[in-house]
Symmetry: C2
Subunit: 107 residues, 2 copies
DNA sequence: GACACCAATAACCATTCGGTTATATGAATT
DNA sequence: AATTCATATAACCGAATGGTTATTGGTGTC
């Protein structure tokens, strides 16, 4: 699970990849050609990005006849969200410690 | 604000940089040499990473005498968190639509 | 004032990355 | 069966990335 975390971060680092993922989130499943039509890059480039997104679990594709439909899997964002919570958690913890210290100084 | 989003994602894509940020979140402000001591890379490499983290607002440094203390700024994670919420929001929205459709079909 | 220490920058290098074009594979269409 | 369409893969290329060592610029210390 924590192994995927790195893949997720890496996948989302590229704006083009984020744009593809966003679109799949917003508009639901789409074929490669449909995605390519709005991406301003070539079809092979899109396929490459999809492969990477798939590798991190952010996207999954199902074959329908001669076209493949890709859909976003928002559950794959969990490691990222978890990490953010962890980081802010550390911060709150420190804040609590400070508060505690101030209380003790008060007495 | 949405300009920083890309920088934040890019910054956090590198595991070394995430590790540095994590440490600063967990243990509070630290000097460059202290960070370097635990990073398994050279001091200039650490300085480079800190520069990038600073560029995305994730970190800020204050000079104390001859050493510079860097601290994490968890508030800079907001764009990231916001984006995640937006994405999951799209998903919920679709779910609502489906629910709505089912309701209408029910009558 | 000479010297050691801390951090930043410069110059360089190997690897990775994001893109391209060309090609292969397989499913629909005719 | 031949052809066209949809996607994936291969081979390649320039730019960006993450690291290194060497050096510089300040700030304490002796």
């Amino acid at each position: 699970m924590t192994q995927f975390r790195n893949e997720v971060f890496r996948s989302l680092a590229d704006p083009t990849r984020r744009a593809i993922f966003e679109r799949l989130c917003r508009d639901g499943a789409q074929s490669v050609s449909t995605i390519t039509a709005q991406a301003a890059i070539s079809q092979p480039a899109v396929s490459k990005h999809l492969r990477i997104l798939k590798g991190s679990g952010l996207v999954q594709g199902t074959i329908h006849g001669r076209e493949t439909l890709y859909r976003a899997d928002v559950a794959a964002l969990a490691p990222l969200q978890g990490w953010v919570r962890e980081m802010t958690g550390f911060w709150d913890e420190k804040f609590d410690k400070l508060e505690n210290l101030l209380k003790r100084m008060d007495r």
